[in-house]
Every structure is written in C-alpha cells, then in structure tokens.
C-alpha cells in the first residue's frame, strides 16, 4: 500500500505551465473491469476485460492533459469513467477534492454541469430529430439553467462562439457537415460553462482539412474560457499540439507521463519511443528515412483479458529481461527525468531522442530485409 501512495504522490506533480494548488480533477487507482461471462452449467463471471487497471492522473484548472495510446489501451474508457458514463470498478475520482466516484444522480448534478464531454463521432452523437437549438439547449434544460437574456440568446451566442451561423438555430444536424457537427458538439459542451471538458477523439473522424478547424476552435475555447481539457486521442501530433501534459497508456495503464517536451523529446519508456517512431511524418526526412528512430514492434497489442505479467509491454519490448515478467515497474520519476516526468520501466531508454540503429522485432520484416540486403 505504501508503494502505491508514493506513486500517487509523485504522479501529481505541479506542472510548470499550470497554476499550483489543488488539481481540478484527480484520479486515483481508477479501475474498470468489464466482466466476461461463460462457463457451465450456469453462466458466471469467468474473467474480465481489464480496460483500465489502476490509473492515476491529475488535471489542473485550465490545462490540457493529453491521453494517448493505441486502440484498446483504455483511454476512452477512462474518459467515460471520469464523466461517470460508466461506473468504475475501483479507485477514486475527485473533482475539486470532492469524491464523485460513486456519486448518485443528485449528488452529481452540480458537477455534471462543470464536466462536459465531446465525442468522437459527430454523426451519431447528435439526435437527428432535434434542432441544433434543442441540442445545445438540452444541458441547460436538464440542469434548469436560465441564463440572463434567455436560453435562446445564450444558444445563439454559443453558435457564434464555435463559428456557426446563429441563424441556423432551427436547423437539424443532417444539414451540417461533419466539421460543423463537431462544432455543435463543442457548443453543447460549452453551454453550461464547464470547467473541464473530456474530449474523446474529437477530430479523428474528420477530414484532414477540417481537423485543424476544430483543433483551433478547442484551442480558442481553452484559452479564452480557461477550460481544462482531458484530451484523448491516438494521433500523437494532435495531442502534442494541444496538450501541455501528456500521458501514454498501454493496456489499461499509464506507462509514461510528463510535460510535452519530456514525452516528445526525451521519452524514457520504450513504448513511447516505439510509438513516436511509428508516426509517419510528411517531411523530407521521412522520405529519405533519416533523422528518426525506426522501431518496428512485433504483432499487435495483447488482449486486455490476459495482460502479460509484470510489465505489460514486455512481450513486445526489445529491452525486456526476466525482471520485467515478474515485477511490475512503478510509475516513478526515474533518474534523468525532469520534475513530473514519470516512467514505468525497469530498463528505460536514454533521454536522448534518437536511436541510431533500427529495432526490427517483426519477424517478417526482419527476414525480408535480411534477404534484401543479402541480394
């Protein structure tokens, strides 16, 4: 237990570009296991998808905290747990120091308006039978908020804020393009003047040229209204652009967390390295294959039903040793890290960005490339 507490303390650093003091949102040991039923003769719980498995993080007022990872790492579940769309199996969620982990509907009321969510799919997250005005006004109505000047006025203001024509108040979602719909989603989230927005892949369903529009909008909202973001995305470049602090998740756990510069320029965890090296860049270096690490992991992410023992990344890690299988590395500030840069690894990489030699773990690639060099 003492171990966990130390980890916890260390995981809640005071980031440089955020105000000191009590974090807006604090998550301790958050866990979500989805039970799997089966067996004979009577169906019973035979296992669990360990979607989120003991997660600690803190988001401070006005900051953007990025959560990156590949599919199945639990980042979206984390978002839904924090917004209480799903019930956590274990752990605590503190909002402004108040425990809302298992708060009921009534207790949640005041908090609900302060934590809002933006969803990935702008097509399915808006009720097609409601007008834009109704959709954006919905949260106000549910929470019984009557802004001065009336709801409609407020809604028109919001439409303007997110860059939509206030005249379109009475239109239906299908009359808007994907990017515009996502703007509607943002307007709805803003309607209650939240303190924290959990944005789950807010731009990944959009066309490239539209993504930037929405990212800029979110940036503007964040700056002008001082709203904190929990920004969940798989696109490392977008997260880097938007978030001051970033956590990298792998199989339900945070493997590395730190400020933007630490994560992107001085990553310590091999997985962070692998992830960064895999991002294709539209640059000349990319064309010529220079200047960046080349790490090619083997296979896919293991199943969260039976995650590997010890360090969960060890099955795909080139540095893995026996210790990795037996001992789970704690998420701590290891030697050479800056304040608040925590890494969960027994054998971290050097804080230099670039590895000279390529790491090719994929057997097919390895054999193909050997045969080519033999030619």
């Amino acid at each position: 237990m003492s171990d966990e507490t130390t980890t916890l303390e260390k995981s809640v650093p005071q980031p440089r570009d955020s105000a000191p003091g009590e974090p807006l949102l604090e998550v301790k040991g958050l866990t979500k296991h989805f039970p799997i039923f089966g067996g004979f003769p009577i169906k019973r719980k035979v296992g669990a998808v360990k979607a989120v498995d003991g997660l600690d993080l803190a988001v401070h007022a006005g900051e953007s905290f990025g959560l990156v990872g590949e599919s199945g790492c639990g980042k979206s579940t984390t978002g839904r747990l924090i917004t209480r769309l799903q019930e956590p199996t274990d752990g605590r969620i503190l909002y402004r120091g108040k425990d809302i982990t298992h708060a009921n509907r009534k207790q949640l009321m005041p908090v609900r308006s302060e934590i809002q969510m933006i969803f990935q799919d702008p097509y399915s997250s808006l009720n097609p039978r409601q007008t834009v005005g109704t959709i954006i006004g919905g949260p106000m109505e549910i929470n019984g908020i009557n802004p001065p000047g009336g709801r409609e006025k407020r809604i028109r203001e919001l439409l303007e804020t997110v860059g939509l024509n206030p005249e379109h108040y009475n239109r239906f979602p299908h009359e808007f393009s994907g990017g515009q719909r996502q703007r509607i989603g943002v307007a709805r989230a803003l309607a209650l003047e939240p303190k924290l927005i959990v944005a789950d892949e807010p731009v990944s369903a959009l066309d490239v040229s539209i993504q930037a529009q929405v990212v800029n909008l979110l940036q503007k909202v964040k700056r002008e209204m001082g709203i904190a973001f929990l920004f969940i995305a798989h696109d490392l470049a977008v997260v880097r652009h938007f978030s001051e602090r970033v956590a990298v998740m792998y199989l339900g756990k945070i493997v590395e967390v730190g400020d933007r510069d630490s994560i992107y320029n001085r990553p310590r965890h091999p997985y962070t390295h692998a992830l960064l090296s895999a991002v294709p860049e539209a640059s000349v270096e990319e064309i010529e294959g220079e200047g960046r690490e080349r790490i090619r992991l083997a296979g896919d992410v293991p199943s969260p039903v039976n995650p590997p023992s010890g360090c969960r990344f060890r099955t795909r890690c080139w540095k893995a040793q026996d210790k990795c299988a037996t001992e789970e590395p704690p998420l701590v500030q290891i030697g050479g890290n800056r304040d608040g840069h925590l890494t969960a690894c027994h054998f971290p990489e050097d804080p230099t960005t670039v590895r000279d030699e390529a790491v090719i773990l994929d057997p097919a690639l390895a054999s193909l490339e050997t045969s080519h060099t033999d030619d």
């Binding site: 539209i210 930037a212 539209a282 000349v284 090619r296 992991l297 992410v301 097919a364 490339e369």
Partner: protein, 353 residues
C-alpha cells in the same frame, strides 16, 4: 488548353510505355439524389515497380478511380468513359471474363478495413488460396501450401496452424497481413492499396507500411497507394497525385509535393496538419469551408470556394474557367508560377516549420 472541357494534360513522357495508363477517366454514378461526378477527367501513368500515392479527402474520387481500374463498380448505375490501359490491354469496356482473369492475378487490391473486407465464413487460408487456385488452376492442396507460404512471408506466426483460422480469430494487424498475402499470392504487377493502414494502430501501421515496401521490392509490383495521410504517403510513394473534387489538382514527386507544393489546396493540407516537429504555440492553418459535394461540384476550379488566393487571379477565372493540369510536375491552378512561388515562400513555408 483553354476550353473547359479539355482534360488535364498527359504526364511527362517516360522512356518506355507506362505499365498502367489512365486517360481522361470519367466516372459517374446515379444515386437517388442525382448524378455523382465521382471522377472528372483524370489521367495518370504508373511504371512498373513504382509507387504512386493518391492523396485526397473523402469524396475526392480517389477510391472510385481505383475501383474502376479493377472494374468493381456497379455496371448498372455507373457510367465510365476514358481509357484504362494495363500493360497494353484496354480495360474500360473489356468483357467481364477478361477482367475476372486479371483481377487478383495481374492486378490486386488491398482494402481499408480487413475485418469487413474478408469474408467471415471461410478460413483465411481458403480465401488467400482462392485466387491462386482460380488463376493457376492448381489443386486445393497446392493452393493451401501456397497460402501457408504467403502467410509466412507476411509474418503470420505459426502459419501452418493459422491458415485454418477464420478472420475473426486474427488481430487487426494480422488480418491486414492476410489481405496482403491474398493480394500478392498471384504475384500481381499492379497492386492497389486503398487506405490499407487507416484502420490500424500506429505501431501496426508502421509494420504494415514497411512490409508493403519490402514486399514490393521482392515482387516488383507497381503500387497505387491511396490515402488521406500525407505522412503515410511520404513514407511510401515515389510520386504523388493530389485529388480534389474528382480531379487531379497537383502532380509531382514526393519530394516536390512536400517541399515545394504549388497548389493552394496542397498548401492547405500541409499547413493544417500538426507535426511532431512543428511549433506548438501557433495555431494550425485550416482550410476554410468543407469539401465539395460531387453531386454538384463547383464550377471552374473545384477548390475556388475555399481558396484564399482567388483575388490574385484576374476576373472570374477561378470560378469560371477550369484550370488544366499540365504534363509533368504541375498544379491545376490559375496562379502564375511566380505568384505560386512568392506566396509559398512568403506565407506558406513559415507555417510548415
């Protein structure tokens, strides 16, 4: 090249006849809402062993183009004009039997979502072996052996066992490997990859992209690589064709397109995407507006409603006159070469960091 109906010019002539040559391709299909002008006068060439990247957003016509190369469009609702010549053989209007003989054999395709693109009802091995059996006439047993060989090649562990698995027993990355095995089993000269890594995680994407490149080296196939991701294309392609609104609007080598793009749309694409190396404090530069509807494409230059530089062009040329895409390294834009260069150097390049 002034009339509206005139097509984009022919690409720069190369030494030999191109392996694949598409000329003045028009694809239209009728839907309940009207006629969709999916591809509107497209021409390009591809040489053996080379990779052509086609970049575009949704609705740019990039996928339709390639389905029509293989003749996979619905013949009842689709109208195709133009020439598609593969290795000297005319494909438009070719009888279905001929196309059947070519598909999966000389030309193969990899689709975006390997989960839906593989039949859930048959084993991976059977699906991989099927085109081989059909096109070479070997026995099932031989087909199976070949499938195992291909699975080994694309890096499926324990291929002798996994050959009898069903697609849903494979992980996403493995399924895409199986798709690649299936596409390459007959050693096709032309491989069309339609967003083959979009559905995959980034680490898996890196494996698949490298795999494709390595296999291309081994098989010597020409590849048409379709994607919306400029990063991926930078990694994969030799040449790039940028498509917008059913037309090609810029053509060039990878390096040319990424370092000295000429079309305002390409500028927009490049400056709107964040990069791992770009400045963080400056906002992104999105392209205003939304991609055009192909039911009712804009007149003149399809990009003009979203273009920030129409005022630099005299009169209403942008909205009234369709700019041609000249042969070779070029962009379909009414801006003069000087204008393009100065705008790029003054306002675009700084944004790209």
């Amino acid at each position: 090249m002034t009339t509206l109906t005139q097509t984009e010019g022919t690409p720069a002539p190369t030494g030999a006849d191109p392996f694949l040559s598409v000329r003045d391709l028009y694809v239209r299909f009728s839907t309940e809402d009207g006629i969709v002008k999916a591809v509107d006068g497209l021409s390009f060439d591809l040489e053996r062993g080379k990779t052509l990247g086609i970049v575009g957003e949704s609705g740019s016509g990039k996928s339709v183009t390639n389905l029509s190369v293989l003749g996979l469009h619905n013949p009842q609702s689709t109208e195709i004009r133009g020439e598609i010549v593969l290795d000297g053989q005319e494909l438009t209007g070719a009888p279905e039997k001929t196309l059947e003989g070519l598909r999966g054999n000389k030309m193969a395709m990899i689709f975006q979502d390997p989960l839906t693109a593989l039949s859930p009802y048959y084993t991976v091995g059977r699906q991989i072996a099927e085109p081989f059996i059909k096109h070479t006439g070997v026995s099932r047993r031989e087909g199976r052996l070949r499938a195992i060989e291909m699975l080994t090649k694309v890096g499926i562990p324990q291929p002798k066992l996994r050959v009898d698995d069903y697609p849903h027993q494979f992980s996403g990355g493995m399924r895409q490997r199986a798709m690649i095995a299936m596409a390459l089993i007959c050693n096709p000269s032309l491989l069309i990859a339609d967003e083959p890594t979009t559905a995959l995680d980034v680490t898996v994407q890196a494996q698949i992209l490298d795999l494709l490149k390595d296999l291309q080296q081994e098989f010597g196939s020409a590849i048409i690589f379709i994607t919306h991701d400029l990063g991926v294309i930078a990694n994969m392609a030799d040449d790039i064709l940028v498509m917008y609104g059913g037309r090609a609007i810029e053509r060039g080598s990878v390096k040319e397109i990424l370092t000295t793009p000429q079309h305002p749309y390409t500028w927009g694409l490049l400056s709107s995407m964040p990069r791992l190396s770009s400045d963080i404090d400056v906002p992104l530069h999105p392209i205003p507006g939304t991609p055009p509807s192909l039911l009712n494409p804009p007149s003149g230059c399809p990009f003009h409603p979203r273009c920030a530089f129409t005022d630099k062009v005299d009169g209403n040329r942008c909205s009234g006159e369709r700019p041609a895409l000249p042969a070779g390294r070029s962009a379909a834009c009414h801006l003069t070469a000087e204008q393009k260069q100065s705008i790029f150097i003054e306002s675009i390049q700084p944004r790209l960091g």
